[in-house]
């Protein structure tokens, strides 16, 4: 390591158990906006970032959150192989000051691998609030590595942590050799494995002592490796020692070693940690409400509904406008609608479109830009404020620790349809926009549950579909209008629940798996940190803009050509002559069963086709094709009856996810099969639901 003393660039890794505040600290160190969540294990991929400190360039590697190095999950394997590879010049192990006894276990295991360790105690300010006092110097002296208290909330200790890591990287601090724990009565067995391995020392890449311990614990990967390097007989001899230990102590060696490590940890921390009487949290009574059978779910749903009422009102004016309207305050109602964020943004985009056409004159190019790209991209951007508001609320719930408790409270009801309590957050997000909802399923531990949710979440009507429902509702007399809105949501959630249930039953029959499981850490309730919340909001907005924006941008161009170019490839002003109209005529028999006449059916089919790209464009298309100024007029001109409107609404709510959602389903599931299955399933169910609605409303 003598040459690295002059090196100007170092690689420093960060590991820690889930929920110790690793992602937050990584963000602070690198200024990178990575996702921070209260869900254990949300950081699946490895993040890298760079920073400068004291004239050194530091490459920071954020490894996945892991509990230890024993079970060899994918995340643990990634972290272990990386640390053993010798690439990191120092490893920062983060320990939760609120739970040092538990979260330090990882640090002990890491110390058995390498001496180039710095231990950071996160949430050090919160520890004080909880009456926990830690003697960092004492722990540092006992372990022989730097121990630094940090706080993501106040940024205290962040620089000291980096400096300590640099010292370790430059060989000025840290242990020269890995930590050696006394395993007591197990020692003779450990040393016999050690002495066997010692004969092959030159050819083995890892520390002998560490290998001996891991082999005794039953590390299959390492066992295969040793078998390869040292041969069959050596491997068998090690296996024999393992069996011997099991026989002597009547326990799995892995369990024995883990127990010894915890004993060692208790010795290290014992008198180094002082706990004053922990104040019973102010929120104790409140949080316990969530665990109660009936009150819990009701409270959770009330919070979510309240949140959405506020978010919807800010964004579209709904439902406040309808409420004001029914109270006779028509002026106030239309003001709420006009000055909602959605209304204002719509104005802005139409102003930009007009400005472009007025300034550069009317040509096919300005029309493409103004009516194709700007209105297309604008229709997506309109949802950005809503997504930001909803993710702001969700971030507050998550960071404060309320969200995991809501998941617990709703686990019971949700497991009836085969999903765990985790599913509530993607479901909630779906009401705003399906795209971030599909992304939010990442926090769900069970892969099969996650795939099921990806297929079914698009059933939940997003804001775009709400816009369509509201437009349809506005063409009915007010009582019926409100009923239509309710109908849309009830049908959608019924479809969501039923399909989930059926898929779950099928899966259960095939794999024999039992009820959905919940394992969730419930972090202490605390005041949410502004910084962390902003990262959340920015992260989901960024994802949304990137994933939806690029696709919508490309598709708005394609769509514009489809509407403005005739099959003979000449530009046309009349949409009825366009390529898209040709498609629509072909598809129009779809709506014959609900009694829409063929001469008008193609207009509806065309709107549905456009709705595949962006749902809210259904209304716009109907008005353009009928040559009217509003949805009411368009629907009137089409002469749709109440049963036809109702069944069409149901169809539009269910029929297919928008193209941006499909793109995300594909990129998250990495399966064409799943993506196509989603379309087929939704189309089928939407069609059946449409026919049922039509039939029922005719009878009524």
């Amino acid at each position: 390591m003598s040459q690295s003393a002059r090196k100007k660039e170092y690689e420093i890794a960060i590991i820690g158990q889930p929920n110790v505040g690793k992602s937050t600290l990584f963000n602070i160190l690198t200024g990178r906006r990575a996702h921070v969540a209260n869900w254990p294990g949300v950081t699946v991929e490895v993040h890298e970032g760079e920073t400068e400190f004291d004239g050194y360039r530091i490459k920071l590697v954020d490894l996945p959150g892991i509990y230890g190095f024993s079970t060899l999950s994918l995340e643990e394997r990634i972290a272990r192989n990386y640390i053993l590879s010798g690439r990191p010049d120092a490893v920062i192990v983060l320990v939760d000051s609120l739970n040092p006894e538990r979260t330090m276990y990882l640090a002990i295991q890491a110390l058995e691998m390498t001496g180039k360790i710095v231990i950071g105690f996160t949430k050090s300010d919160a520890a004080h609030a909880h009456g926990i006092h830690i003697n960092y110097d004492l722990i540092s002296k006992r372990l022989g590595v730097p121990v630094v208290p940090v706080s993501a909330a106040t940024l205290r200790g962040v620089r000291s942590l980096l400096r300590a890591a640099l010292d370790v990287a430059r060989g000025k601090a840290g242990r020269k050799k890995p930590l050696r724990i006394d395993y007591g009565e197990l020692e003779p067995h450990v040393s016999s494995i050690e002495s066997i391995l010692r004969e092959f020392e030159e050819r083995l890449e890892y520390p002998i002592r560490w290998m001996a311990l891991r082999l005794l614990e039953g590390d299959d990967d390492l066992y295969k490796y040793v078998k390869g390097v040292c041969g069959e007989t050596v491997a068998e001899e090690i296996q024999r020692i393992r069996e011997e230990v099991r026989k002597i102590f009547h326990r799995d060696p892995a369990e024995l070693l883990a127990r010894k490590r915890f004993e060692y940890l208790r010795k290290i921390l014992g008198d180094a940690i002082v706990r004053l009487e922990i104040k019973k949290g102010r929120f104790e009574g409140f949080t316990k409400l969530f665990y109660r059978p009936f009150i819990g779910p009701v409270l959770s749903i009330a919070i979510l509904l309240g949140m959405f009422m506020i978010a919807f009102t800010i964004n579209t004016g709904f439902p406040l406008n309808i409420l004001l309207d029914s109270l006779g305050m028509h002026g106030a109602a239309s003001a709420v609608e006009e000055y909602s964020i959605g209304g204002l943004m719509e104005k802005l985009f139409s102003w930009i479109s007009n400005w472009i056409i007025n300034t550069f004159g009317e040509s096919w190019l300005t029309d493409l830009i103004a009516n194709g790209i700007i209105s297309g991209v604008g229709s997506v951007l309109i949802f950005l404020p809503l997504i930001m508001i909803v993710s702001l609320f969700l971030a507050i719930l998550e960071d404060s620790g309320i969200a995991p408790r809501m998941a617990v409270s709703l686990h019971g009801p949700l497991s009836k349809i085969g999903v765990s309590g985790h599913a509530i957050f993607p479901m909630t997000m779906s009401l705003g926009c399906n795209v971030p909802a599909i992304l939010a399923t990442r926090a769900i531990p069970s892969r099969s549950e996650r795939l099921r949710l990806m297929i079914t979440l698009p059933f939940i009507p997003c804001q775009a579909r709400l816009v369509v429902i509201l437009a349809f509702a506005s063409s009915l007399i007010s009582g019926y209008g409100a009923l239509l809105v309710v109908l849309g949501y009830v049908v959608a959630f019924l479809a969501f629940a039923l399909v989930n249930k059926v898929l779950y039953m099928l899966e259960k029959r095939k794999t024999g798996r039992k009820e959905p499981e919940l394992v969730l850490e419930l972090p202490p309730i605390h005041r949410p940190l502004g910084r962390v919340i902003w990262w959340h909001v920015w992260d989901s907005s960024k994802h949304f803009l990137k994933k939806a924006g690029t696709i919508i941008f490309a598709l708005s161009i394609i769509l514009w050509f489809m509407i403005n170019v005739s099959p003979s490839l000449t530009l046309t002003d009349n949409p009825a002559e366009s390529i898209a109209a040709g498609f629509a005529h072909f598809l129009s028999p779809i709506v014959y069963p609900i009694g829409i006449s063929p001469d008008k059916a193609w207009i509806v089919a065309f709107a549905l086709l456009v709705g595949f790209i962006a749902k809210e464009a259904v209304i716009e298309t109907l008005t353009i094709l009928t040559g009217t100024a509003s949805a009411q007029q368009a629907l009137f001109l089409l002469g749709l009856t109440v049963p036809q409107l109702a069944s069409l609404t149901v169809f539009i709510v269910l029929y297919v996810p928008c193209i941006a959602t499909l793109a995300v389903i594909y990129s998250e599931s990495r399966s064409i099969k799943h993506t196509l299955a989603t379309i087929a399933l939704m189309l089928g169910i939407a069609y059946i639901a449409m026919l049922i609605t039509y039939g029922l409303s005719l009878i009524l």
């Binding site: 509990y67 739970n99 109660r292 019971g412 499981e517 850490e521 202490p524």
Partner: protein
Amino acid sequence: MGLTPGVVVDVVMNIGRGPIIIRVMGVEIALGRGIARRIIVEPIST
């Protein structure tokens, strides 16, 4: 999650058929019934 052999577990909440809430080394953890059933405990005096 700190549920190691010999650890002391407090039951915070155990109502009906919902998840059981326990406290292990100072942290609350919610466990579904299926998983909770597979954890073997013996009562100790408080």
